[in-house]
């Protein structure tokens, strides 16, 4: 339907010079083999975005976004009983015949029902769409809204489109991912904006009702230039779920962020998806419940502070510190309910190499320190968990500017790049402690790679990346090396 609208619009268009402004096209193809450490896959992937803006009617937009992939190496057996010596399947293999087509977006929308007046503020979007509000949800349906700038309101409804759900491909009797109905409103009064949202999820799965209502009330305040405060209360109705206060203060190119989040009641996370489980010899050995066995986290108070600033003309820094205090009872904790401290530093630097090129350096370090009461037994999921984690990611990139060059300002290249080549690496260490271990266990995961992008033309680029990574010998099979290559071509206008 979307394609048809686009093609009709193209056919009726008389001014080809206008097309580039009104037509959206992005096509990409990639070949992505991964070898080593018990994995062998050759995923051929393609993604496409097609759309129009104001072609048939000035206010009509259409857009579709999809990604497809198939494993050329074949389809490892989904059932362990069929092939107990098989290699680990990669994601496309999860789906039937090792192929998948994920349709993320496909909609038509009217941004205004009339050129002027109140009708000009109406908007309607119909088709597969994403709503990113109190919950992220993709659904097949419609959203009707009114937006005057100061006041906006929208209602939406349709069938939830579980893009990644493979239930239907396995021929399960229950394939209905459920309904979504909801709405939101926003009113802005000078420097204060009020928001409210409600979403109803209705789903029955294997005969059980898993409906849920979620909502959010929020107020955004901008008392002075550069200072933004957001206070939010989210609900899994009728319970209060989270209370959150976020502030960001911008002074020149320095931004100070403070974030307080307290979990009061339950979250909706993981509650909407169904898994079919894994069977060996006709016996189901994993959960087939509606959710993975990840317990809802206990109430906690989370605090985080970060400062983003330019240390020099060429160096940006972002130190960060945070802490979480679990408020629930020790006896009710799972390993996920750990008090923790987190600290980190991100840095980005830019060094001109010559008049047409530069080096960019990026580094990101984060450390985590966890504190858990050891109250569990073996059958209790509170056993185990990391006690200390250090994550480091770093990279250096050479960039060369495009044909329409603009001299560097403040030592930075601001033109489009014609060539970009980067080296990157990461390392993650984690220390594990458990009453069932004689001593603590340290694991190391690390990897490195190189990637490059060459703009062959204004609308066409070639991308290549290679990564080699070593996994944890404890948790990732034999801990051997994984090699991944990705070659892709993308065209767009």
């Amino acid at each position: 339907m979307i394609l048809l609208l686009g093609l009709m619009a193209l056919a009726q268009s008389e001014q080809s010079s206008d097309l580039a402004e009104r037509v959206i096209v992005r096509l990409g193809v990639s070949y992505d083999p991964v070898l080593g450490a018990g994995v062998a896959s050759q995923v051929l992937g393609a993604d496409a975005a097609l759309g129009t803006r104001g072609l048939l009617m000035p206010t009509l937009n259409t857009y579709a976004l999809a990604r497809g992939a198939m494993d050329l190496a074949g389809t490892p057996a989904l059932s362990l009983a069929e092939d107990p010596h098989g290699e680990h399947p990669v994601l496309p293999s999860v789906y039937q015949r090792g192929r998948t087509l994920l349709l993320h977006l496909a909609y038509a929308e009217l941004e205004g029902f009339a050129p002027e007046g109140a009708l000009a503020n109406l908007h309607l979007r119909a088709g597969r769409q994403l709503h990113f509000g109190v919950a992220a949800v993709t659904f097949d349906g419609a959203t009707l809204g009114y937006d005057s700038g100061r006041f906006s309101v929208a209602v939406r409804g349709g069938q939830r489109a579980a893009v990644f759900d493979r239930a239907s491909t396995l021929g399960r009797a229950e394939t209905n991912p459920g309904l979504v109905i909801g709405g939101d409103a926003r009113y802005t009064l000078e420097s204060v904006s009020f928001r409210a949202e409600f979403l109803h999820f209705g789903r029955t799965f294997d005969g059980n009702d898993f409906s849920a209502d979620v909502g959010e009330l929020a107020v955004d305040i901008t008392p002075t230039d550069g200072l933004g405060i957001t206070a939010r209360a989210s609900l899994v109705i009728p319970e209060l779920s989270h209370l959150r206060l976020q502030t960001a203060y911008e002074i020149g190119r320095t931004v100070i962020v403070l974030d307080l989040d307290t979990k009061v009641g339950r979250d909706l996370s993981y509650d909407l998806a169904g898994g079919s489980g894994t069977a060996i010899g006709g016996r189901r050995t994993t959960l087939e419940s509606l959710r993975l066995n990840i317990p809802d986290a206990q109430p906690y108070l989370d605090a985080r502070a970060a400062v983003m600033f330019d240390a020099t003309d060429w160096l940006e820094l972002e130190p960060m510190f945070g802490a979480r205090k679990v408020l629930g009872d020790d006896a009710d904790r799972s390993p996920y309910d750990a008090d923790r401290l987190v600290w980190g530093l991100m840095a980005g630097a830019h060094f001109p190499v010559a008049s047409q090129s530069a080096l960019e350096v990026f580094g990101d370090y984060a450390g985590f320190l966890y504190f858990r009461p050891d109250t569990g037994t073996f059958t209790d999921a509170s056993v185990g968990g990391e006690s200390v984690v250090h994550d480091v990611t770093t990279g250096v990139r050479y960039v060369r500017r495009g044909a329409f060059a603009m001299p560097a300002i403040d030592g930075r290249l601001l033109s489009r790049r014609s060539l970009s080549v980067g080296l990157f690496g990461f390392a993650s260490t984690a220390r594990w402690a458990s009453r069932y271990l004689v001593s603590t266990l340290d694991e190391l995961t690390m990897g490195a790679g190189i990637d490059g992008r060459l703009d062959l033309a204004d609308v066409l680029d070639l991308r290549v990346s290679y990564e080699v990574a070593r996994g944890s010998s404890t948790f990732a099979g034999d801990g051997g090396l994984l090699h991944g290559l990705r070659v892709g071509v993308q065209g767009r206008f």
Binding site: L65, E316, G385, R492
Partner: protein
């Protein structure tokens, strides 16, 4: 000097909304003359302010005067310095001509709160619409509105790039002149915004989610709607952290502690789609029975994400099973 600066910062600014709410209502043109030059209301011997506020001009200098003056000394000519006008510049690199936009009603760009900067999406409502404006002033041609003063004054004279000529001409031309940028082929795609630093790759969340996001002015192939902002790219492009080994314990820790972070891109079906098949650590599955002990003792929670003690462990470790 410092006192004057403080006065500029703390003095109550002129309230447009108060004046626009009068009965009968004032029109913008009651005070503003849209000539090529920016003209301060009141410059013509305090007209038209004195038509309503005549009594203020017979009082001792006070707060009213501070709408326009840093200080007032009526005894000395020329000793009543003015506050900058406009008090709030739209941006230090914007060249905007009210004179060339007179065909549009003021409310096209301004709401009652005139003192707030007009967001760029308001510009886009016309300049991103080929049925309203010409290609010469398309929003993607950044130098129609944006200037780089330091660049234009210092560097442009030294080079002969057509882009630079366009910038320079645009900066020097009277506001009423035809857009010089018609000769300049540069678009935003050739010139990265100044906030696109190396750190922007991890800091772009708010800029992308903003109702006023401008991603599609340069990045082709995306819908351009703020409602699709995240999905447009992340549905088909992985974050840097999602490398070959991300599907190991690293992702579990992030997903358990901050599920909302995952939910930015993934709905929960994505979790179960993968967790319905055994993880890489289980392969080759034929020998996993003899290798699972250390994993289970180190991190039982990992096992219990998918298994239950009753469905799996108890088969061998339970009463009557293998030890």
């Amino acid at each position: 000097m410092i006192a004057a600066l403080l006065l500029v910062l703390v003095a109550e600014p002129f309230r447009h909304d108060t004046h626009l709410g009068l009965k009968p209502a004032l029109e913008c043109q009651s005070c503003h003359a849209f000539s090529p030059e920016t003209v301060r209301p009141g410059k013509n011997d305090h007209a038209p302010c004195d038509s309503c506020h005549a009594e203020e001009y017979y009082r001792a200098p006070g707060a009213f005067c501070q709408n326009c003056h840093l200080s007032v000394d009526p005894t000395k000519k020329g000793s009543s310095p003015l506050v900058p006008y406009p008090r709030r510049a739209a941006s230090n690199d914007i060249a905007f001509s009210h004179a060339s936009h007179q065909a549009a009603p003021c409310s096209t760009c301004h709401d009652q709160n005139v003192d707030k900067p007009t967001p760029m999406k308001v510009c886009a409502s016309c300049h991103d619409d080929a049925s309203v404006t010409s290609d010469a002033v398309r929003i993607k041609k950044c130098s129609v509105c944006h200037l780089e003063p330091a660049f234009v004054s210092m560097v442009a004279p030294l080079i002969t790039l057509p882009f630079a000529e366009g910038l320079e001409a645009n900066a020097r031309a009277p506001a009423s002149a035809p857009p010089a940028i018609a000769r300049a082929p540069a678009t935003l795609a050739e010139r990265r915004p100044s906030d696109h630093t190396p750190m922007f790759r991890t800091r772009h969340e708010q800029a992308a989610r903003d109702d006023d996001n401008k991603c599609n002015y340069c990045h082709q192939g995306i819908s351009g709607s703020h409602r699709d902002a995240c999905n447009d790219c992340h549905a088909t492009m992985r974050p840097r952290s999602h490398g070959l080994r991300f599907q190991g314990p690293r992702h579990g820790r992030v997903a358990a502690e901050s599920p909302a972070k995952c939910a930015t891109c993934h709905e929960t079906d994505f979790c179960t789609a993968c967790h319905d098949i055994p993880p890489p650590s289980h392969f080759p599955i034929s020998s996993f029975l003899t290798r699972h002990s250390l994993r289970a003792r180190t991190n039982a929670r990992s096992c219990l994400t998918c298994h239950t003690f009753e469905s799996t462990c108890e088969r061998c470790h339970g009463i009557g099973g293998a030890e």
